[in-house]
Symmetry: C2
C-alpha cells in the first residue's frame, strides 16, 4: 500500500487548491495539513524548516523530501497521466501557460482578490494597475479560448488547472467575467471536468 | 540538416539570454531576431500576431509553431540533455526553482534593475518593496547554496540558468552580492560552466 503524501496548504488559496484538485482527480492518497497564511503560519520557525521560502503549498513525500511551488508540485503528481500531454511540444506549451499564470495572471488577479476579499480594502485603496493588468490577462485567455475548449489540448491539462484556480474566483477581486464570455464558459467546463463544486474555496457563494 | 529555430529576443533581457545560453550550450542552431522592448517592438501588430501576450523571448520552430515564456522554451530546447535531471523528483525540484524564479525573484531583482539601469530612476523613486523582496530572494538562494555547488544537482541544470540570468546583474539593480557570498561564488561557477562572458548583457562592465 502506498504511504500517503502530505500536502501543506491553505484551502482558501487557489495555489493550494490546484494541488488538492490534481491529487483528487488522479486518486492519489494524501493527508491535508492546513496552514493558515493569514495567521502567519507560513512564517513560523517550524514551517520555514519545511520550506525556507515561507510559501504554501508544499508537498512532503513519504521519504521526507519536500517540494514547493504549486505548478511544480502538480507536474510531479501528474507524471505519466493524461493531465500532461505526452507530445514534447504540447508539454512545453502547457508549461508556457503555467509560467505565464504565475507571472502575468496570479500577481494581478489573485492579489486583487486578496486585497478586496481578505484585506477588505476599497477600490480606492487598491493599486489600479492590478485591475488593468488582470483585465489584460483575462483578455489574453479569451483570445486563446476563442478557438478551443481547453488551454492546450482538447481535454483538461495542468495548464487548465493552474489557470482556473484564480480565474474562477476573479469576481471576488472585482473582475467581471461577463466581459470575457469564452473564459466564463471555460471555467464551467474545467470545474465540471474536475468535479469542482463552484462554491469550493470561495469567500462568498456564487451569486 | 536541421533547419534552425528562430529566437525573438532582446539581448539586454536576462529572460532572453537564458534561451541564447541554453541553445549555445547544447549546440542548437538558431537565428536570433532582435526585438527592442524599450522601443515598443513587443507591442506592434506584427509581434502580437506571433505572441499575443506581447512578451519576449519567443521561439519559432521550423514548422511555424511558437513557444513563449523563457523557462518553458529552455525546457523544450533541453529535453533529453543533462541540463534536465532524468530523476522525476529532481526534475520537479528544478521546476520548483524555475517557478520560484519567475514569481519570487525576477519581479523584484530584474524589475529593480530595470528601474535603475534602464529608466534611470533614483532610489527615492523606486518602490522600496523591490529592495526588501529582492534581498529576501537572494537570502533564500544563499541558504540553498550553503551546502551545494548548484541549485539542484551537482552540475548545471535549467534551474541555474534561469536563476543566474538576473542574479549575475543584480548589482545593476543596487543589490550588493558581497552580502551573499555563496550566491556570488555560484554566479562565477555557472558563468564558467556555460562559458558566459561576465560582461555579456550588462549595462555597464563588471567593476
Amino acid at each position: 500500500m502506498l504511504a500517503p503524501v502530505r500536502i501543506y496548504g491553505d484551502q482558501r488559496s487557489g495555489n493550494c487548491l490546484k494541488v488538492k484538485w490534481t491529487a483528487d482527480h488522479l486518486g492519489i492518497p494524501y493527508e491535508w495539513h492546513e496552514v493558515d497564511v493569514l495567521k502567519g503560519q507560513t512564517r513560523t520557525e517550524d514551517f520555514l524548516a519545511i520550506n525556507p521560502a515561507g510559501q504554501v503549498p508544499c508537498l512532503e513525500r513519504p521519504d521526507g523530501r519536500i517540494l514547493a511551488q504549486s505548478n511544480a508540485i502538480i507536474f510531479h503528481l501528474a507524471r505519466g497521466s493524461k493531465l500532461i500531454p505526452s507530445d514534447d511540444f504540447d508539454q512545453a506549451k502547457m508549461l508556457e501557460w503555467m509560467f505565464w499564470e504565475q507571472y502575468s495572471h496570479e500577481p494581478f488577479i489573485a492579489v486583487r482578490r486578496f486585497r478586496k476579499a481578505f484585506q477588505n480594502l476599497s477600490d480606492d485603496e487598491i493599486d489600479p494597475e492590478l485591475m488593468a493588468k488582470g483585465r489584460r490577462a483575462l483578455g489574453v485567455m479569451e483570445m486563446r479560448l476563442l478557438s478551443r475548449d481547453f488551454m492546450v489540448r482538447n481535454h483538461v491539462t495542468l495548464a487548465d488547472i493552474a489557470l482556473v484556480a484564480y480565474t474562477r474566483v476573479a469576481d471576488e477581486g472585482g473582475f467581471d467575467l461577463d466581459e470575457f464570455l469564452g473564459v466564463r464558459a471555460w471555467v464551467a467546463r474545467v470545474e465540471n471536468e474536475l468535479g469542482i463544486d463552484p462554491d469550493a474555496g470561495r469567500v462568498s457563494p456564487v451569486l
